[in-house]
Symmetry: C2
């Protein structure tokens, strides 16, 4: 007889009743072929002794196995593993090594997305220069929690806990339509709005709706890498145009349109990612005219609209769109905190309707209670107040950070003070190497962005984005101190190598 | 001169300062071509009079427009719309009708998903028989809120408000690995788990990873329609196999495999959607063996595992998977409340890694604070207590509802008492028509599921799913009363037509 006390491990303090632990253990032995079909099982008395449990527990376990169809009783003969079960080859299980490997590799072919591996994960951890994200320490979390609670506390609001509209919370769509109309001059109604989980989902949905393999999409020669990857994942062939101090070059786009059909242009009008420049007024108008003339979509990711310091932000391209050519994407999480993943996609009604069908099979809907909480916060002005507070703070932090870069690091770096946003585009002496600097910084506990994410054209710039918004003045001093030390070390090494050569 | 007081509408109680309302209004007039390039603008005094605002406000607006590049001052001549701007054709704007239409239709071609329109939206509203969803009135919302608050209240937890791991909260992955190991016999670690937003996202991600246009996927002859649509959207050609009282017919799957290469089989082991039957023990083993032999993926959506009333639930196919052939999907939102969209996808490590790259471009990550709250609730046992409470309640509701169907509607309907889940599969006399019954019910304020969602094979069954879990005993009595009245009316009409014929 098999040694059941070794094969079935019981946890008397576990969540599962002991009789179910026994029946589950038996099931796994049957499934793995250790107990083959037709094998006679021990009597309840003998099994209860070897497992050191009450006999009733084993009886309950056998009842369970019988009702599930794993075992059968043959009168006056005993209890057997069901003869109806298929034969299982037991060899594999004996080799633990092999069994573990089975959970490492899929037993079928799938289609890996090798391109997508390039977008490395950024996770905030310790002292970090990020690529430009909000300071979550000022996020209005208690206002959000208070709104969440007030919504679910009212019994007539219980419906928000169930399935809701795939387009997003109706109140939020209404409130946003009014807000975008009033503050950004967009001629829209709630029918033009799909609530998403941040502007990235708007980007994904748009790419899936307008791109099929081989279609052409135009992006800046340096561009937000995740946008490129999202378009490529949908099958787009990318064409690159130059970016200068007025943003993406629209004459270069016109030249492409004269040669061939393009499906989309991606643009971050406020502010170009990664270089932080604002798309100029004349290029905005020019791009909208081109879209109308050549029938392509403008994917306008306006993630930074609320953080413009020089003057008021320029109205989005979407406000000049008279022919349904602009898909406008914004993110509320950029203002509140990244974890509250609420954003919006604004487009013509027909596209919004069709996109909603796709959204339904992706994740059914957003978090309706959170969406309503944010709608209430916009209605009550809490959202706008927080946005103004953050704008003021980030402007001060920009000035402080740029001041430090000038006073402490001018020997190594060059940059233009950004007109808005949460990051500076910092260039470094070409003799130096951001990868080496990053390694030196890490010795002092500072992480900086991976330069390879920005060096999209080989032999191009030697820049990285440095986020200042999430660092207070003390932290800024500390990161600049560490950066300076690292750059000095790397420069000394570089000149040693020069001298040796 | 243009009548600016008619063209620029000011809202003195709005969110936006008046000077910005003026500059935005001017920008829109320029963008729309009403103010063409080179046009001379009124002086600040004259404009302030016609708009009835202080002159300083107009000066601020002009400063704004200048700094944004829309207008320019030519000394001793005046202020003009910038000559650098492209010419805008103003004709279109004059036609309000046309302008509105522009937000209705996209100005470019896109790829509508006509198939996806079939999955109609279910939104809880008034007295409703749903397809089988939890009762959100018993959802542990205050426990969730308490956990959310305790997480964000601790300053060292602020990191959860920022970007986090795309795979999902690390603690939840660990806790779930242990939970699934202990309660469902799955031999996994956290590396086998990707946290999703409900089992639908697991389904979408899996389909995108393993299906390319033309690949074959096998489903039951009646099946969860959204699963079919998700596979088809990824490009799958569906092949159908019969479903009987033991679930999906695995011999029919074997016959297909002998003829051609298949990529995936979709199965809802607990319990088949829509018919509610449990996949039997021998078919479970058979299917796993077939997957291993023929190298296909089993997409196991085990959404109903926690709600099985007859005996303990049968362990998932994933517990018998020795070769990485099963992708297992579960949903925590089914137990808590649909709005808390947290679920999991369990698969081999290599597939989980690649799927995470795709997840990143869809919506970056889940709600990390909610995920951690749920991890804590599993650790503390709150989750399991709620699950047990719901199981007991839903079992009572199943018995009550089936009792009512028997005593009040046996003249019209037939059904098998389901072994688990939240719905009964209710058949009706073929002479009657669910569409007609639904219309009659609506007159009395009751909505019932759309029968067309279940009648996937033409001329097939005449069944719908009736959810009982979300209705208390009083509500069940009321819906059965209305159903009975509606069925009587429809039957009387049908026999009148018979008699006339």
């Amino acid at each position: 007889m098999l040694s059941f006390q070794n094969l079935i491990k019981l946890n008397r303090n576990g969540d599962l009743p002991v009789f179910l632990q026994i029946s589950n253990g038996m099931t796994l032995l049957i499934k793995s072929g250790i107990l083959g079909k037709g094998v006679k099982l021990p009597g309840t008395r003998s099994l209860s002794e070897s497992l050191n449990v009450h006999r009733k527990t084993v009886v309950a376990a056998y009842d369970e196995l019988m009702s599930q169809g794993w075992i059968e009783v043959i009168p006056s003969k005993g209890t057997f593993v069901s003869n109806k079960l298929p034969i299982v080859d037991a060899r594999k299980l004996t080799n633990d090594e092999h069994r573990r490997a089975n959970r490492e590799k899929a037993g079928f072919d799938f289609y890996p997305r090798e391109e997508l591996r390039r977008a490395k994960e950024f996770v905030a951890d310790g002292l970090t220069i990020d690529e430009g994200i909000p300071d979550v320490r000022i996020a209005p979390v208690f206002e959000i929690l208070r709104n969440l609670k007030s919504i679910v506390s009212r019994s007539y609001n219980k419906k928000y806990l169930s399935y809701g509209p795939v387009h997003g919370d109706t109140l939020l769509r209404e409130v946003l339509a009014g807000y975008l109309q009033e503050t950004r001059g967009m001629n829209i109604t709630m029918k033009n709005i799909l609530i998403t989980r941040g502007s990235q989902m708007g980007m994904y949905l748009s790419a899936q709706m307008i791109i099929r393999p081989g279609d052409i999409a135009v992006v800046g020669q340096s561009n937000y890498i995740t946008a490129n990857l999202t378009l490529q994942d949908a099958g787009a062939e990318l064409q690159y145009v130059p970016v200068d101090e007025e943003g993406i070059n629209t004459n270069a786009i016109e030249a492409i349109c004269e040669r061939q059909k393009i499906k989309a242009v991606f643009v971050t009008s406020h502010h170009h990612h990664p270089t932080t420049v604002t798309l100029s007024a004349e290029r905005r108008l020019h791009l909208v005219q081109l879209a109308e003339k050549y029938g392509f979509a403008i994917l306008e990711d306006d993630y930074d609209y609320d953080f413009h310091y020089q003057n008021a932000p320029l109205l989005p391209l979407a406000s000049a769109d008279r022919s349904g050519n602009v898909i406008y994407m914004g993110a509320i999480c950029k203002i509140v905190a990244p974890v509250y993943r609420v954003g919006y996609m604004v487009a013509s009604e027909d596209l919004i309707e069709e996109t909603a069908h796709l959204r339904r099979i992706i994740d059914r809907q957003g978090d309706a209670v959170l969406e309503r909480a944010i709608a209430q916060m916009i209605q009550q002005g809490d959202f706008q107040r927080h946005s103004k507070k953050a704008l003021k703070l980030y402007k001060e932090r920009r000035d402080h950070f740029c001041g430090l870069l000038e006073s402490e690091l001018s020997e190594y770096v060059s940059f233009d003070r950004p007109e808005g946003g949460m990051a500076v585009w910092v260039g470094m002496d070409k003799a130096l190497n951001w990868g080496r600097v990053a390694k030196e910084c890490l010795k002092d506990g500072l992480r900086i962005p991976d330069w390879q994410l920005f060096d999209q054209l080989k032999g191009g710039h030697n820049h990285i984005r440095m986020g200042f918004a999430s660092l207070n003045n003390e932290e800024q001093k500390e990161v600049v101190r560490i950066l300076g030390k690292a750059m000095k070390t790397v420069k000394t090494e570089a000149s040693l190598v020069m001298n040796l050569a």
